[in-house]
């Protein structure tokens, strides 16, 4: 491509622009195209490589194939419990009601889930779900989902071709990053970005935009997330005038690999502990016995002998403390490392090798054994693993209307991990894949409807020129290497805004982050514009920065512990805080935080819970206004 081409901004337009090509984005695109709209999907990576492929467990949907007692009300209850009742109840309700249809329709696109004996979609048990509920394909459910949607998009393209429609009715533009949204009068009207391969800029006029960009995990040093997870959608929404909620709630999995570096952050499934694995510190001590909270003492063994008997006789012995809830285990690991009893690489040992035969381990944990052998040459049957908490998922995200997925900015919609509210303070495993199907579909549907009623927007030369200048700035700067700055930010977040938080440390984090702002503004890229990862990272940094600030501010403000937010200096849930969402917005370039009421559940939905359960989360005035179980049934 000649220089002339590169310097000319490519102009495109469509009815619905979908930013993000993971499960939520692709499902939105399918729906918008089926509604007759012209659609462009922007993919930061190649088509079909999105982070959705990493999902292993499955997609939760109350189809009742394995246990007929399951229904949407039970799924709704489990979701609200998992989120500690901070969820947007309407999102949780829609999600539970619509997930089965979203799974079944994937079969009509060609998906092949594992089956029950009578030929229906099989469903597996998972933490927090009362019945077997996760539709799955072995441990590669996310890959099946992304491939199915990818192939559905291609089939819609083939339908268009057969019908004589032009190719631009449904386009996937891959390896392209959006750096800016254009707005006018409180509504979106388009987006600006660059093709990674050539560095050529692109301006897309669109009256409706769906953000489906995933999460923020790359702001943390140890994460299970891929490089794309730089909070682009969160930051684009903020800058366009939309709001973020619940940014303090981040799910850390207690046992991610910390060593060797080839597998840092990769999850070690809980079953390693369920099958006999124990946690040890650098003194060789099985330390979890010292971390059993008062409320769990009845269920968890306080000595190794009893704990070890549990594996074969669970009825007469208490459970090993390694099987305490995720946040308790993560807190204990964190405390051991901070007390100087961590491993050389900042984790603790997870040892199953010295406790079970190699044969047993290979039989019970085949994929774990295979994965670490292939990726890291670590033989889990021969040596302990080094593990620690890894950043996994952000519950917080763009504040949306539950039914339409609309943000505060007209024409701007959001679905999947980038949106907030659905999971409250903590997400249940399996609820992410179903979330992105349910709300991806809704986002596509309502974005299409919005586009039908809107006029075709025009982008001005001036706003495009300003976006070009912003994007090229790193080439003219004389500051630091983007990789060093990313590392600095990851260090701050990992050290001070991680799984266990304290007010003093969060203040420190905000001070240190503020000191980074100037350095990020002056970040420098060298080389040309064609496929230049240093330049790409330089542009991603400001997104990671603004998300990190929003998280640290909200974490400082919320002085209680709930779900994915643990404050060592404010333990326990406070019913007053349950009523509050922390809402972040951008004002003159600075993050501003305000408190807003969590939507109150309808009496019908409150009636699905026992009052004794509600009393653990709510103030008496809230749950006593609910009808009794009998009345609502």
């Amino acid at each position: 491509m000649s220089d002339n081409d590169i310097n000319e901004v490519e102009h495109l337009s469509c009815d619905v622009l979908v930013i993000g090509a993971g499960g939520a984005g692709l499902r939105a695109a399918v729906e918008a195209r089926l509604a007759g709209k012209s659609v462009i999907v922007i993919s930061k990576s190649l088509f079909g490589k999105a982070h959705t492929v990493m999902a292993e467990g499955g997609a939760a949907a109350a189809m009742g194939n394995v246990n007929a007692n399951d229904n949407w009300q039970v799924h709704f209850r489990d979701t609200m419990r998992g989120g500690k009742f901070l969820n947007n109840y309407r999102m949780a309700e829609l999600h539970a009601q619509e997930a089965p249809d979203r799974i079944w329709e994937l079969e009509t696109y060609g998906a092949l889930f594992d089956r029950t004996a009578d030929g229906r979609i099989s469903q597996r048990n998972f933490g927090g779900h009362e019945y077997p509920r996760l539709a799955h394909v072995g441990d590669r459910t996310g890959l099946e989902l992304i491939r199915t949607l990818q192939q559905k998009l291609v089939s819609l393209q083939q339908d268009d071709e057969a019908a004589g429609e032009s190719r631009d009715r449904l386009q996937v533009i891959d390896e392209t990053t959006i750096t800016e949204l254009f707005t006018a009068g409180g509504a979106v009207k388009g987006a600006f970005g660059y093709r990674r391969g050539t560095g050529r800029f692109m301006a897309i006029a669109a009256p409706a935009i769906v953000l489906a960009t995933g999460g923020i995990g790359r702001s943390f040093k140890v994460t299970s997330n891929s490089w794309e997870y730089t909070g682009d959608g969160h930051a684009l929404a903020l800058r366009a005038g939309a709001k973020l909620i619940n940014m303090e709630f981040i799910q850390f999995h207690p046992t991610g690999m910390v060593w060797p570096p080839s597998v840092r952050g990769i999850l070690v499934t809980e079953s390693v502990r369920g099958d006999g694995g124990v946690l040890k510190n650098s003194d060789g001590e099985r330390f979890m016995f010292g971390y059993i909270p008062e409320v769990f003492k009845a269920q968890y063994a306080d000595n190794p002998d009893e704990a070890d008997r549990w594996y074969t006789d669970p009825d007469h012995n208490r459970r090993p403390p390694e099987l305490l809830p995720r946040d308790e285990v993560a807190r204990a690991i964190n405390a051991e490392v901070k007390a100087g009893r961590g491993t050389e690489h900042g984790g603790v040992y997870l040892d199953i090798a010295s406790r079970r035969s190699a044969e047993y381990i290979r039989e019970r944990l085949p994929s774990m054994h295979h994965q670490f052998k292939e990726l890291a040459d670590v033989d889990i049957t021969a040596a302990p693993m080094e593990v620690g908490p890894t950043c996994h998922y952000i519950m917080g995200g763009i504040e949306v209307d539950a039914d339409t997925t609309a943000s505060a900015v007209a024409g701007l919609f959001a679905a999947g991990e980038v949106s907030g509210g659905m999971h409250g303070s903590n997400r249940l495993g399996g609820n992410s894949l179903s979330d992105l199907l349910v709300f991806g579909k809704r986002a596509g549907e309502y974005a299409a409807a919005h586009a039908s009623a809107a006029e075709s927007p025009k982008l001005s030369e001036a706003e495009i020129a300003a976006a070009v200048e912003d994007a090229l700035r790193p080439f003219g700067n004389d500051g630091e290497n983007p990789y060093a700055l990313q590392d600095a930010m990851q260090q701050i977040n990992g050290r001070l805004v991680g799984i266990i938080r304290r007010a003093g440390e969060l203040e420190e984090a905000l001070t240190e982050l503020a000191a980074l702002e100037e350095r990020i503004a002056n970040v420098t890229a060298i080389g040309g514009r064609a496929y230049n990862p240093g330049w790409h990272l330089a542009l991603d940094l400001r997104n990671m920065y603004v998300c990190s600030v929003a998280t640290a501010m909200a974490a400082l403000e919320r002085d209680e512990s709930r779900g994915g937010h643990t404050r060592e200096d404010a333990p326990g849930m406070d019913p007053q805080w349950r009523k509050v969402n922390l809402v972040a917005s951008l004002e003159d370039g600075a993050v501003r935080l305000e408190r807003k009421a969590v939507p109150a559940m309808t009496p019908e939905l409150l009636g699905l819970f026992e009052q004794t359960e509600l009393s653990k989360y709510m103030t008496p005035e809230e749950y006593q206004s609910s009808p009794t179980e009998e009345e609502s049934r």
Partner: protein
């Protein structure tokens, strides 16, 4: 930790050359870790494509000492201490920059591959299939689209002229997957593979199977069965007669 020498191909469609980097390598690292260190410390603009770094997305395909591999799954301890490691882009596809190639060939071939055809009369939620029947297709759906099989296949590796008529192993397993799908309504998957995808150009050298990081038995479980059945059908006089009388794609599926 040791200092090791890496030769990395740098350039674009107009040509390029090897750049040599002396890099610290830590115990337990893979090639992609080393490439990231080169980026962070020596060449921030070094182009490399990657995503999950866990062997699940199939983005970081390249050739390491001439072998097609995922960089995230190539451990440094496979190489001798003191051995220079050479990393080059996939040879079969045009170079975009450095280690990144233009793999759009594969997406174009996928675009001309007829999609799953849902069975008529079955509503969502009414699909019934046995595990043993879906497993055959599931093997092929493990594919992470790393395109190492496409890159390795000698039909196109040094033969640009074969690219238009030849879809390659990735798309052959897609055809096999749909052919073996218990509820796919099309009955012409094998013929389509033979006539439109260039299955006949494959002469079963199994190179594709050897490089597959998902260990899919591409040749044995997809290509050979499809070739056999195509051949069987074409030389069976009754089937030949049947095809003369009924249009194959309108006929009901045998199973």
């Amino acid at each position: 930790m040791s200092e090791r020498t890496f030769r990395v191909w740098r350039g674009d469609a107009d040509g390029g050359e090897f750049a040599e980097f002396d890099v610290a390598v830590n115990e337990g690292e893979v090639i992609l870790d080393v490439v990231h260190r080169i980026q962070a410390e020596q060449a921030p603009d070094l182009a490399v494509r990657w995503n999950c770094k866990a062997g699940k997305c199939g983005s970081c395909s390249a050739e390491v000492n001439g072998m097609p591999r995922l960089m995230c799954m190539t451990r440094m301890n496979l190489f001798e201490e003191g051995q220079t490691v050479t990393i080059t882009p996939l040879r079969t596809f045009p170079v975009v920059r450095d280690l990144v190639t233009d793999v759009s060939f594969n997406y174009e071939k996928a675009r001309s591959m007829p999609a799953f055809a849902p069975p008529e009369g079955l509503q969502p939620g009414e699909y019934r299939m046995q595990q043993v029947d879906v497993e055959r297709s599931q093997e092929f759906r493990k594919c992470i689209e790393c395109f190492l099989c496409q890159n390795t296949c000698h039909v196109v590796r040094d033969h640009e002229e074969n690219k238009p008529p030849f879809s390659g192993p990735r798309l052959f397993i897609r055809a096999a997957e749909l052919d073996m799908h218990p509820l796919d309504a099309r009955a012409d998957r094998r013929e389509q593979a033979q006539d439109d995808q260039g299955l006949g150009l494959c002469n079963i050298t199994k190179c594709c199977t050897e490089v597959c990081p998902e260990h899919i038995k591409i040749t044995d479980n997809a290509i050979i069965p499809m070739k056999e059945r195509v051949a069987g059908d074409r030389y069976d006089p009754l089937v030949w007669l049947g095809r003369k009388i009924f249009r194959k794609d309108k006929a009901a599926k045998a199973e």
